[in-house]
């Protein structure tokens, strides 16, 4: 036991004596976690959520285009700024604005006519940055609703649209029965517009409204994206620490220390077990520090089971330690092992959903990620933090992580070169 504890103490002394290692292990996940948490929404109560900038090119200069501009500017999701066509096109091309909409000349009249099918539809051009397709779709949706309301309001409020539509209908080759029906509709619209008290019609609107409710731990608890980002970054940097565990073991061999250790009357269990124990301790410490920071600075809480949270942290720490031993067992030299291990770790982190949530992955990839232990750690941490789930939801992630640790550890013991060079 004296040797085991001395070896663990030595690892901790060396780790905490290396400022760069400590910064990488503790400060880096906090910094990057803070950044990602902010970018992906921060706390749900944040007031400064980014409004999407949209450039508005008015080539009509009529009342409909002006009303449409005012309506779009009232939308909480958009920041609409008027612009001329060429500057707007240039801004989108340079990535300074994601979307620009161009309202063509004569839009108001044509749209109103088109409303009753008596004229071709005018075209609103949407200029968008190809890297912002999602934003373009969102603008199209908002635009559709606002155009419908603005155009119908205009159409129902003035007789000119009805009169001109009726004129066009006379010359139309439409079926007599349909022509009669449309004439009746125009009569009704004219009557609706001339009825006292209806002049202020708001036009046709979307016949529903939505009530958004984020499903978090429980009602009244806002989503806190820092919970996910801090978990993700803790996972990433713990895995990097795992690489250092493996490289450290390979360096022992390179520096002749392995000869000294093997010359002593120590079992393989003591030699590798002490390394795993020190790595697990550091891993638990990283998770503790990172989540403590997140708790006090960003209000991240363990909304679910605390026992489950500790269980996931412990199981992932053990898995990380075993992963480090695996790197030491498979790697031939520190230099060769570092490159391969870094690549494998980055792939594991990426597929775990630590950077971006795994539901954004293609469905086939989501299936594959279930074979990645870090994915289970991420799911477990999410479940115990912002999802607020009970310990039963932590059991499967813990089991998968422990099983991974056993497999990694077994391969490491099997493949490890015990002989001194």
């Amino acid at each position: 036991m004296t040797a085991f504890l001395a070896l663990v103490r030595k690892d901790l002394q060396i780790f905490f004596g290396d400022t760069r290692a400590v910064i990488m292990a503790f400060a880096a996940p906090i910094l990057i976690g803070s950044f990602f948490g902010y970018v992906f929404g921060g706390t749900a109560t944040r007031k400064d959520a980014t409004r999407m900038e949209v450039l508005y090119v008015d080539q009509e200069h009529g009342p409909v285009a002006k009303q449409l501009l005012a309506a779009l500017q009232r939308d909480a999701n958009l920041q609409v700024n008027p612009s001329a066509l060429e500057p707007a096109r240039e801004a989108v091309r340079k990535g300074k604005a994601p979307v620009a909409v161009v309202i063509p000349a004569g839009f108001g009249d044509q749209a109103a006519q088109a409303l009753f099918g008596s004229s071709p539809k005018p075209e609103i051009t949407v200029l968008f940055d190809p890297s912002h397709q999602t934003e373009a779709s969102m603008v199209r949706g908002i635009l559709t609703g606002q155009v419908m309301q603005t155009v119908t309001k205009e159409a129902f409020s003035t007789n000119s649209t009805v009169v001109s539509s009726r004129e066009r209908l006379k010359d139309s080759k439409m079926e007599p029965s349909r022509k009669a029906a449309l004439t009746n509709l125009l009569d009704s619209v004219e009557k609706f517009g001339s009825t006292p008290g209806t002049g202020g019609s708001d036009g046709l609107t979307v016949p529903f409204s939505t009530k958004d409710e984020a499903i978090t731990a429980r009602s009244g608890v806002a989503y806190n994206s820092y919970a996910h980002s801090f978990g993700g970054m803790a996972i990433q940097f713990m895995l990097f620490m795992g690489i250092d565990v493996g490289i450290g073991l390979l360096l022992l061999r390179q520096r002749g220390l392995w000869r000294r250790f093997r010359a002593a009357p120590l079992s393989k269990t003591v030699l590798l077990g002490s390394r795993a124990a020190s790595a697990m301790l550091v891993g638990m410490l990283i998770l503790t520090v990172v989540f403590t920071f997140a708790r006090f600075v960003f209000g991240v809480k363990i909304e679910g089971s605390l026992v489950g949270f500790i269980g996931v942290c412990g199981a992932f720490s053990l898995m990380t330690a075993a992963y480090g031993l695996l790197i030491a067992a498979i790697g031939k030299t520190p230099e060769a092992a570092r490159g391969l291990a870094t690549l494998a770790t980055l792939l594991m982190v990426m597929m775990s959903g630590a950077w971006v949530p795994s539901f954004l992955f293609p469905s086939w990839m989501q299936g594959i990620t279930k074979a990645v232990p870090a994915r289970w750690a991420m799911d477990g941490l999410d479940a115990m933090t912002w999802r607020g789930l009970g310990i039963e939801e932590a059991l499967l992630p813990i089991a998968v992580l422990l099983a991974s640790a056993v497999v990694f550890g077994a391969i490491a013991v099997w493949r490890f070169r015990w002989e001194a060079d």
Binding site: G256, R259, A263, E419
Partner: protein
Amino acid sequence: MLSAENLKKAYGSLQAVDGVSFRVGPGQVFGLLGPNGAGKTTTIGMLAGLVAPDSGEVRIAGHYITGDTSPQKRRLGVVPQELALFDELSATANLSLFGALYGLSGAAATNEQARVLTLVGLADRAKDKVGTFSGGMKRRLNSAAALLHDPQVILLDEPTVGVDPQSRNAIFDNLETLKAAGKTLLYTTHYMEEAERLCDHIAIMDHGKIIATDTVAGLLRQAPVSSFVLIDLVANDFANLIEAAALPGVLSATLNGRQLRLGVQRMDDLPELLRWLLSHGGEFEHVQTERPTLETVFLHLTGRSLRDA
């Protein structure tokens, strides 16, 4: 105290050690002398239980090393060729760790640390990080780390590589102290001067085999000449080298610039040789003699120089 019987070890097609046998008693220094790659480090690895031999056996005080946790390992102290220390830790922290590997803790560990640090002359640097030490100081600490548990047998693998003369002498003094204390020392080196100075018995290794083993005096008797005569000629146009080599009593003759080097069987022939030289265009300005060394023996046995091998 330490015996090796017919040790063999191959790495693929390379036979690193091929039938090495020897015995070393208490209070003796046994030297394994040979060029780099001769199999010295692999032999030490097998003696220390670090490398499993393909065949052969090792005994310490009559006992085999059986398994990783064999108690016989406590009788051994291993000084690796590399500076097997943690630069990030202090000398005391290093020694604390290496002592703990052998179960040392508490006051006993502290006392042993102080003892070995004093022995190697580093007591005043006990709290300093090893990374701040000179190469020679690290070498001394490297040796000290193997002495903490007071082993009876100490295996030293090239313990003076890359050290300054002062530290080398300090290490020699330490080893002589240990020898005087009755410890069994096995010392590998490719420096023949070190082997001659320290070792009671020497085995010369080459290509994994012991090609000669004896006391220093016994090995030197295997040299083909009793002395070398080094003659600095006045001019560098001496043209009778072949004739000089054929003179009675001369076993070898080489010319390096203006220096003529003659290997002779008996020093009694020297006056006659010098007279012959003067009469054959070999006017000289300085003469000195040199005794053969283990280098000479190695060259004689293998046809190669120790340093070139």
